[in-house]
Amino acid sequence: MTLNIVLVKRVLAIGLGAALALLLLPAPVFSQEISWSLKNDPGTFDPAMVDEQAAEMVRFLTGGVLLRLNRTTQQVEPALAATWTVSPDGKLITFHLRDHLRFSDGAPLSSADVVFSLKRALSPQAPVSEEFLDAKNVTVDAPDALTVRVHLPKRVVGIGKIFDEIAIEPANRPSQGRVTSGSFFVADYKNGEYVRLARNPNYWRHDAKGVQLPYLASIKLDILKNRDQDELRFLRGQYQLIESVPPDNFSALAQKAPRAVHDLGPSLNTEQMWFNQSPAAPLPAFEKAWFTSKNFRNAVSLTLRRADIARIAYSGHATPANGFVSPANKLWYNQSLPPVRENINTALTALAQDGFRKNGATLVDREGHPVTFSLLTNAGNHARERTASLIQQDLAAVGIKVNVVTLDFPALIDRLMHKQDYEAALLGLTNVEPDPGSMMNVWLSSSPNHQWNPSEKTPATPWEAEIDRLMNAQDSAASDAERKRSTDRVQQIVADQQPFIYLVYPNALYAVSPTLSNAYLTVLQPGIISNIDYIRAGAK
């Protein structure tokens, strides 16, 4: 009898010991899955047709690329291509592929696949083709199985970065991300629910010890439309990271999970307001006169208290702005631009120069019209809605009455881009690319994205003509120093003329579970998972 009890106790002890050992051992590699949320379903899984954030995220994780932009150092590094060279005139790029490359389904990867994928990326429907400037006349050939040559008709500045966005797929059988040469491939997709990515067993990269990457077995991207749930699920451990934490929730998370939250300082994005300067706008002439007046715009800019916007609307997680290039963009930020300090007296002086005067508590123009305008913004962004209220109050101090109107996005776009039926607008710009070349479409006066006066046939003002000249110059400049000079000058003109009144640079806010290791945080998108190959999950 006693022997039996002893035996039972022994077995129990061994069992418990084994269980404890299993629990305490680090989770074995290749069996871990991490999860986070996407705001919406990826618009497409075809890497050549990616044109929005969720699809870009999936492409980053699954697409094997010739060259990878290191988000920390901002330098281009070889990936599928072992080496690459650019001819001195910039018109010939040669890639030498690594040996023994395979796709996730085992098929070999050769130059034929690269040529096929590059040609798809150069087709006019592919968003990335625009970056080649003259994609029609770009030719690609493969002299042998491991070499690919790209012939450009015109030199393209920063050509290496473009290849970071072109995924190499199997020739003649594009698979919508199911067969890839990147870290993961799309294993499962349920519309509205999730995208599951599984580890590519034939990924080319190995770590220093020769272990094949990635360490993670799979990634589950939940489609979460109702963003309020993101924090709750992160705190519960369902998600291991939050890609961009809304500023309000950051403080709450900081209280509940202090080790998990990170504020990296200003991001590349900007929040700005601007006035409608389009001659086609259905506005009365006297209002158009206000908005096209440099003194008026500068006065408005000097009245706004940016520090309050950063402190109150963004709960301190934003930095007052003075231009379209954020200080996080170290290569291109104009250091000599002074910060904008609010000064009501200077503002009133500027207004007086244009004939504005105070009539009691209201500001009136020289014809006696009270200065009032509507400020259009989108609903659903708490920080922006608060910014609008703060602007409303700030401008009331000089006698300007502002009407805040929040619209849903399609109606907003319709007014801003198609009908130009608005007075002032408050929106943010997401800058994924630090290079000013990516902003050509905003600054060229002929562009439909030249927000304050789209698609100008000829530049409406001398300073817009100057910006056109400078932006074209930086696009074809021979040296980086020249490009910097041109871009600095554009920043100066914008600061003088204030076509966009820049308010703040929202900070890059992330939440990362302490159970993840090797997650490098960068301001450049995709902020947390740029080091996805090396990320490990497991108890710390």
Binding site: A388, V404, V405
Partner: protein, 262 residues
């Protein structure tokens, strides 16, 4: 019971009016050094996320929201009962047509009509006009949901013996109507009560489309919608005041309106 409820409601409304009139600052004044604080000497129930006094804004929201929602609810109820009564007492074909139209109205996405209304109005519409228009539209669009219930009740009443006697005795429709209304009252009052918070919340949702009560007017619905957000971040319990007040006001209205069979 009813008297108590009515008097508390009256006191509440009067207090709100007094607060609005006698407060030392304006309802949209931002005390930017005191954001999201709890009760202090200066701000009795604290401030919101823009430093505006909570008591003042809630008082304004109460008056504006209650007035607007009650008006919208009354309009919707009035339309619904007229449609229901007409459908019940009119010739069969007319009755069926009215019900048919209410079914069509139920399936259409009126959201887009509201967007069209907004886009046809000037952007510089004063906040108070936008608020009035929103509640008017909510009233005009709310009737289809209630028609069938009113119709069913009216039909039951039509078949009741006393009404048949009345008709046989030669009472005119208007006189019949006066006899009918007390019997319809419980249903009407319940519908009126249900629709008020629906209007308050709907107004806030319509704010996302350019209608609703726009800044800087205080909106009860927006305070409720913002609750989920501020519950995460704020460290004072006063943020729950808008919802507590709503529950309290609804309770008072119920005690006033809902008939209890003894």
């Amino acid at each position: 019971m009813r008297l108590i409820a009515a008097s508390i409601l009256l006191v509440l409304t009067l207090t709100a009016c007094i607060v609005m009139v006698r407060a030392p600052f304006h309802y949209d004044q931002q005390d930017r050094d005191n954001i999201s604080i709890g009760a202090t000497h200066e701000h009795l129930t604290g401030t919101d996320d823009l430093g505006r006094d909570r008591t003042l804004r809630l008082a304004g929201a109460l008056l504006l929201g209650l007035l607007g929602a009650a008006a919208a609810s009354a309009i919707a109820g009035g339309l619904a009962v007229s449609a229901g009564l007409s459908a019940a007492f009119a010739p069969n074909w007319l009755g069926r047509t009215i019900l048919y139209l209410s079914d069509v109205a139920l399936t259409l996405p009126w959201l887009f009509l509201l967007m069209m209304v907004r886009s046809s109005l000037p952007l510089n519409l004063a906040p108070i006009h936008s608020a009035t228009l929103t509640f008017l539209l909510l009233g005009l669009l709310g009737w289809p949901a209630f028609v069938r219930a009113n119709h069913a009740r009216a039909r039951t009443l039509r078949a009741s013996s006393w009404l048949m006697q009345g008709r046989a005795a030669g009472l005119k429709p208007l006189q019949l109507g006066r006899q009918l209304l007390p019997h319809l009252a419980p249903l009407l009052l319940t519908q009126f009560l249900i629709y008020i918070p629906v209007c308050i919340v709907a107004e806030a949702n319509l704010g996302a489309m350019g209608l609703g009560i726009s800044e800087p007017l205080p909106s009860w619905g927006s305070m409720l919608l913002a609750l989920q957000n501020s519950a995460l971040t704020a460290n004072t319990h006063w943020i729950y005041l808008p919802i507590a007040l709503l529950v309290f006001v609804l309770l008072l209205l119920e005690m006033l309106l809902v008939e209890v069979k003894s």
